[in-house]
């Protein structure tokens, strides 16, 4: 059995087990959707009070919001194994994975496909559709491809962040909460246009954790809005590649962490 089909087998098992608790699944998905809907409610409140955010309208901000939450929902569903990886290390369960003749990344990813995250995904897609309809985006095949590319780039980037977080837990499981700044905090940042932030924060989200690349530039490409940084459409369309680069770097970090791993022995 090759790696890919093994992964899908693991995921099938995970889905089947979650479907045993159907009522839980429905309630948790609805809860996830509610949690995100209120975040958009917060943006709406501010637009209702102030009218605009620099040159941006509520619907335009809805595009940023929709794309980043689609990415975040998918990455939380797919990367759950890395998100709770510190528990495996704490309990010593990770040692079992090490004994199997398969890649650790594949096995951790295959631990769980968290279905309730689809509540967030559905809500994000609804906002995205509403926003693009209100903004009046002239969809072309190319623009739609860039949209999918942006969401995919975001998924890879967030999974990369989760892998770095999991790698930290090889050394310590204390204080992992600070990684929330980059996942939840990053999502909160990226649901607004990058151009409104101060220089240092902007640079951080372009060059350290390139969330701006998977979300800000593609939206400029799709809407054809003027960029304050003066980037070209070609660059804007290709910027989500930064997500893939980040994931590659994080896989190297993971491999390094793995080579230093010492079991707790419990």
């Amino acid at each position: 059995m090759n790696g890919i089909s093994l992964y899908f087998k693991l995921i099938r098992i995970s889905v089947a087990s979650q479907m045993q608790y159907r009522a839980s699944f429905v309630i948790m998905s609805m809860g996830m959707a509610l949690v995100t809907v209120i975040e958009f409610g917060g943006i709406w409140v501010l637009f209702d009070r102030f009218g605009s955010l620099q040159q941006w309208t509520l619907a335009e901000v809805g595009l940023f919001y929709g794309i980043i939450h689609c990415s975040f929902a998918l990455s939380e569903a797919l990367g759950r194994g890395f998100d709770i990886f510190h528990r495996y290390v704490q309990r010593g369960d990770f040692d079992r994975l090490l004994l199997r003749p398969r890649s650790t990344v594949l096995q951790v990813l295959g631990q769980e496909l968290q279905l309730m995250r689809f509540g967030r995904l559905a809500q994000a897609m609804a906002i995205l559709i509403w926003a693009s309809w209100t903004v009046g985006v002239q969809w072309t095949v190319l623009k739609f491809a860039v949209l999918l590319f942006a969401i995919a780039g975001g998924v890879l980037l967030f999974i990369g962040i989760m892998i770095v977080q999991a790698t930290v837990s090889f050394w310590t499981i204390q204080g992992l909460e600070f990684m929330n700044s980059f996942t939840h905090g990053g999502t909160y940042m990226a649901q607004h246009p990058l151009s409104i932030f101060d220089g240092w924060l902007r640079n951080f989200f372009l060059f350290v954790i390139p969330l701006g690349c998977v979300n800000y530039f593609p939206v400029l490409f799709i809407t054809g809005k003027q960029d304050i940084f003066g980037t070209t459409p070609l660059f804007q369309a290709l910027a989500p590649l930064a997500g893939a680069v980040f994931l590659l770097v994080s896989l190297y970090v993971w491999r390094f962490g793995l080579s230093r791993y010492q079991s707790t022995g419990s």
């Binding site: 839980s24 309630i27 809860g31 209120i38 204080g175 600070f178 909160y188 409104i196």
Partner: protein, 266 residues
């Protein structure tokens, strides 16, 4: 009475030990705070707040929200919930203590000790930030005293709400729903996401009536000076009335649950 006081004291001392988690928490809250402050600044520069509050007040309100985040009742007591899931709650039922009061006392410690550790550094650093980004001191000693009193009211209210979350997990599916849904309502309607004074004019009466305003908004408004210290008695009455409602609901649910409780052996 003495037993309950020592529960609070013991939990308090135990929770003060989590210092690494506190450092990580301070970092995360700072990060979130900065992003939120930058967003609110740009909204203020783009439009008119129509006299709801000044930018300096809104920024102070946001930093207060981050500093006091530990008091937010967005989850139950995780140790109690774990006991309910694995059946160890049976031991709790055997103790010669009122179980509602026991859990309430645990929550009092859970909401104060981590907040004490995290809030002081945030107050200090946010106060020293450059003008326009900083937390400003309350306008008068009376405002500060009113804030302290309202924080105590918020603590009592928040613990009553958290206890309902813990208790509702005695019903598996309904509990999961509470665990997911309540946080969304708390974050949105408490003022933790967007200051309540910035909500639309027509919504003011609703958000001020709801219990959630007592958690964040009422104390914060005393601190920034949008509420005069003279209305403190009225606001305290509001917080305590909702606390009484939630205590009655929580205790009622607990009585209902303990009547039909079945502990599985093994």
């Amino acid at each position: 009475m003495k037993a309950y006081l020592s529960i609070v004291r013991m939990r308090f001392i135990a929770l003060l030990q989590y210092r690494t988690a506190a450092v990580a928490g301070v970092f995360t809250q700072f990060f979130f705070g900065f992003v939120m402050v930058m967003v609110i600044r740009q909204f203020f520069f783009s439009g008119d707040a129509q006299g709801a509050m000044s930018l300096a007040q809104a920024v102070t309100y946001i930093w207060l929200g981050q500093a006091m985040l530990g008091m937010m009742p967005w989850n139950g007591d995780n140790e109690v919930i774990a006991m309910i899931r694995d059946g160890n709650v049976a031991y709790e039922l055997c103790r010669p203590l009122n179980i509602y009061t026991h859990w309430y006392c645990r929550l009092l410690a859970l909401r104060t000790a981590p907040t004490l550790l995290r809030s002081l550094p945030i107050f200090l650093i946010a106060g020293l930030l450059p003008a326009g980004y900083n937390l400003q001191p309350p306008p008068s000693p009376a405002a500060f005293a009113a804030w302290l009193a309202a924080v105590a009211g918020a603590l009592l209210l928040g613990c009553a709400l958290s206890n309902i979350i813990s208790i509702s997990t005695l019903w598996t599916v309904a509990g999961e729903g509470m665990l997911r849904m309540l946080p969304a309502l708390v974050i949105f309607f408490s003022g933790s996401l967007v200051p309540l004074p910035l909500f639309p004019q027509w919504a003011q009466a609703i958000v001020n009536f709801l219990p959630f305003a007592g958690l964040v908004d009422i104390p914060n408004q005393f601190f920034v000076g949008t509420l005069a210290p003279a209305v403190l008695p009225l606001m305290l009455l509001r917080q305590l009335a909702w606390t009484a409602v939630f205590v009655l609901i929580g205790a009622g649910l607990l009585r209902l649950a303990t009547k039909r409780v079945v502990i599985q052996g093994g």
